[in-house]
């Protein structure tokens, strides 16, 4: 395994961490307007109060890691997706300051404005992440110069939008499962009802998205098809070498993912708060992992010509940078994990409002 593969995996781990952690707080944000009354809304917002900022750092670090390890991917994606990324920035700004400002002023209009800003921007951010993933699956128009040559509307194609709404439902379900852990009493009852409704929407989307992807983009499972489906533009030697092992592992993940999804329903019915949330977290991890395995070793597929695609070799930094960065990650990751665990431990239990709350 070379440093390019290691960095592909590390970026994947950062994105899984981001999707699981910020996933629930974007979901909580998307649900925020459903909560009625000021007290309930404050509980909803404060359930993610101490943790959302740390969760977002996973995105920032993933961005920095892509910049350092795969600068061409960073440059092509960020400049190619200019308008969607600008809207994402607007959404992330509004979300952050809405939480800080919302409860600072008792006026009804003030609170309504920031409530709406918080909720809508959370939903937009979740959807835009999905749109980006959708485009990674379909591929975009990249020329020989590694530059995006398509238009904005091509990025907002039906398939990408479908993935966008799918990610929104995944995060909303994940967020509602988190809220069940953090709330009690009447509010928790309501949250459980939302979770059940979102669950069924999610199941419908899950089936449609899976079927549609297999039909339109069978190459997404080429890496774990026991060599039955041909990959456009050549496979990575690691896949060739460990074909059976990779395929079996991937299909075990597919099956476990299905079980985790079913388990969410069981947990909702039986009131198993933590298990439901963990199932959903594992499911998100599995989906991001399978997606990453599906496009490997490409990072951005060119629809013009497979040889124009950006992969982990033609888009990467020098070996020296990859190696140095690997040691930085090795030193940093234990710290990161220990802060993250410590913070979730300190703020465990049901959300209570006090004088320090939002």
């Amino acid at each position: 395994m070379d440093y390019n593969v290691i960095w592909y995996i590390l970026v994947g781990v950062l994105l899984i961490g981001y999707a699981i952690l910020d996933g629930f707080d974007l979901g909580v944000g998307a649900l925020h307007l459903l909560a009625k009354g000021d007290h309930n809304r404050r509980i909803v917002m404060n359930s993610i109060g101490p943790v959302w900022d740390g969760n977002e750092v996973w995105l920032i670090t993933a961005g920095g890691a892509v910049f350092a390890a795969f600068p061409h991917v960073y440059a092509t994606a960020f400049s190619g997706f200019y308008i969607p990324f600008m809207l994402l920035l607007a959404a992330l700004i509004f979300r952050a300051v809405a939480m800080e400002f919302r409860s600072k002023e008792p006026h009804r209009r003030w609170r309504q404005f920031w409530d709406a800003a918080f909720s809508i921007s959370s939903a937009i951010a979740a959807t835009l992440f999905g749109v980006t993933i959708g485009n990674a699956v379909t591929g975009i128009n990249i020329g020989a110069d590694k530059e995006y040559q398509g238009t904005l509307m091509e990025l907002l194609n039906p398939y990408a939008l479908m993935i966008g709404f799918f990610v929104l439902t995944v995060f909303t379900l994940h967020g509602s499962l988190y809220l069940i852990i953090k709330t009690e009493g009447e509010l928790q009852k309501q949250v459980k009802q939302w979770a059940m409704k979102v669950y069924w929407i999610f199941i419908i989307f899950y089936i449609i998205v899976t079927g549609y992807t297999l039909f339109l983009h069978p190459e997404m499972i080429a890496n774990f098809s026991f060599g039955k489906i041909n990959y456009i533009g050549g496979r990575h030697e690691l896949i060739d070498h460990y074909d059976t092992f990779v395929s079996i592992t991937a299909w075990i993940i597919v099956i476990l993912n299905g079980l985790a999804v079913l388990n969410i329903h069981r947990c909702l019915v039986k009131g198993l708060e933590h298990q439901g949330f963990i199932s959903s977290a594992l499911s998100i991890g599995a989906m991001v992992g399978l997606f990453a395995l599906g496009i490997f070793p490409n990072m951005i597929v060119s629809t013009f010509d497979p040889t124009y695609s950006l992969d982990i070799y033609n888009a990467s930094s020098s070996q020296k940078t990859l190696k140095t960065m690997f040691y930085i990650a090795l030193v940093g990751i234990p710290f990161v994990l220990s802060y993250t665990i410590a913070i979730y431990w300190v703020f465990r239990g049901k959300t209570q409002l006090d004088e320090n709350s939002y």
Binding site: E56, T321, A329
Partner: protein
């Protein structure tokens, strides 16, 4: 307007707006550590109130700093994609290190700092405050490292030709400790201490004039004036060291600082002045030979003027000249202002000098202007290079982005930031008027003050 000018305006606007906030966070962070450390040591309630109150003010600025900071990270890719391709091998790693070493630390302990008062022990809380302060300072370190590499690039080699050409790193630590990074970091963070301290000074001075929360106000202003005085005395020393590095590595920038067109062995320093790009002359009040002296401790040291360099490599001289002199002038003012105020505090007659208190209240934008001006002179002074002598700004743009798209995002940021700015001022004003939760009024100044105004009813 074309993509280049729009992208430059957007970057300048978004980074200048962003940079209002991090220096407040860094400076306030230090003062919070001092207040909470005093609380731990003395166990006096007033220090706890101070720690809690300044933390509240900190939270308001911190959240905008974080939110607007993500914009900067995105913009390297969205607007400067060619730059990112060209130097990503080098420039990306300090950004990633900032994420791994600084942001996680900062955001993790920020949660305990803001929401953990009733959940963790006093010591753990104090530790969290220290870690947040450390995190924001480390964040400054890595970002200044990245920027310093653009000013004084080292430890790289150009690999490939044409479209494939890019800079590759040869030595990571030599890149991190490039000739200008440490001194620029010290100068930047020290400027942040001044800015954070002046916010505390301003709010405390407001309470003193309003005769409210006096104990908290006097104790806070004492700490903040101390921080501000030490930092502003240190700042010219650090600035001088920095200017020496500029003289060695970026002589065109140094020439622009002082509007020096012709090379001379008796270069002047201007107190105030104006450069005329038409006649290529500089007018103003000058101290002859001072620039030569500051660089080499020799009044007759030869300093190269702008004419030594091709005209297409000149920065916007007047912009660099003026922002540089605004920074220096304000820096001198901070020394005088803080020294005078500390003297008044020592003589216990600060409250008599109403005019001084009013100056202190309204002086809070001045360090913001000084810090901004310093950065503008540093960044504009590097132009037309985005990486000194390696890559021109005009060659660093995103090829896939159109002018209309940048215009759209520029207008969008302008509207959002305007809204944020006014919301921030409004909330800050409210927090200040509301004041700390629990006012303790045992400090001797209060008694003294009350005696003076013969207002003994309250005793």
């Amino acid at each position: 307007m074309d993509v280049e000018i729009l992208s430059r305006i957007q970057f300048a606007f978004t980074i200048m707006f962003h940079y209002i906030y991090p220096p407040f966070s860094i400076g306030l962070g230090l003062i919070m550590v001092i207040c909470e450390g005093m609380y731990l040591k003395t166990d006096e309630k007033v220090y706890e109130n101070m720690a809690r109150f300044w933390t509240k003010i900190f939270a308001t600025t911190f959240s905008i700093g974080v939110a607007t900071g993500i914009v900067m990270e995105f913009e390297f890719g969205t607007n400067w994609a060619t730059y990112s391709r060209y130097v990503g091998d080098i420039f990306g790693s300090p950004l990633a290190a900032e994420g791994i070493f600084a942001f996680f630390l900062e955001s993790g302990f920020l949660a305990v700092l803001l929401f953990g008062w009733n959940r963790v022990s006093k010591r753990t809380h104090f530790f969290s405050t220290c870690m947040v302060a450390l995190g924001s300072t480390m964040s400054a370190f890595w970002i200044v490292v990245a920027n310093s590499w653009m000013q004084t690039p080292t430890a790289y080699e150009i690999v490939g030709t044409g479209l494939e050409a890019r800079a590759e790193i040869t030595d990571f630590w030599a890149m991190v400790f490039n000739p200008s990074s440490l001194i620029r970091f010290a100068h930047t963070v020290n400027g942040a201490f001044v800015q954070g301290a002046f916010l505390v000074i301003s709010i405390s001075a407001y309470y003193i004039i309003k005769n409210r929360h006096l104990d908290l106000a006097y104790k806070s202003i004492k700490i903040a004036l101390g921080v501000a005085l030490v930092a502003s005395l240190l700042q010219p020393v650090l600035g001088h060291e920095h200017a020496n590095v500029v003289a060695e590595y970026q002589p065109a920038k140094l020439a622009a600082y002082e509007g020096l067109y012709e090379s001379t062995d008796h270069a002047s320093m201007y107190v105030i002045g104006w450069t005329d790009p038409e006649t290529e002359k500089t007018y103003g009040i000058e101290i002859p030979g001072m620039l030569s002296f500051l660089i080499a401790f020799d009044f007759d040291h030869k300093v190269p003027g702008l004419k030594e360099f091709p005209k297409e490599d000149w920065p916007n001289v007047n912009l660099v000249f003026q922002t540089y002199h605004i920074m220096v002038g304000l820096g001198m003012l901070f020394i005088a202002l803080t020294a005078f105020s500390i003297l008044a505090l020592k003589r216990k007659n600060l409250h008599e000098k109403k005019w001084l208190i009013y100056i202190l209240i309204f002086s809070v934008p001045l360090p913001v202007i000084a810090n901004q001006a310093g950065w503008v002179s540093a960044e504009a002074g590097r132009q037309p290079w985005i990486v000194q002598d390696i890559l021109r700004t005009s060659d660093a743009l995103s090829k896939a982005v159109k002018a209309e798209e940048v215009l759209f995002s520029l207008i969008m940021f302008f509207c959002i930031y305007l809204l944020l700015f006014f919301a921030w001022i409004y909330i800050l004003d409210k927090e200040i008027k509301h004041g700390p939760e629990d006012a303790v009024t045992s400090y001797s100044h209060r008694k003294e003050r009350l005696d003076m105004f013969e207002d003994k009813d309250e005793e």
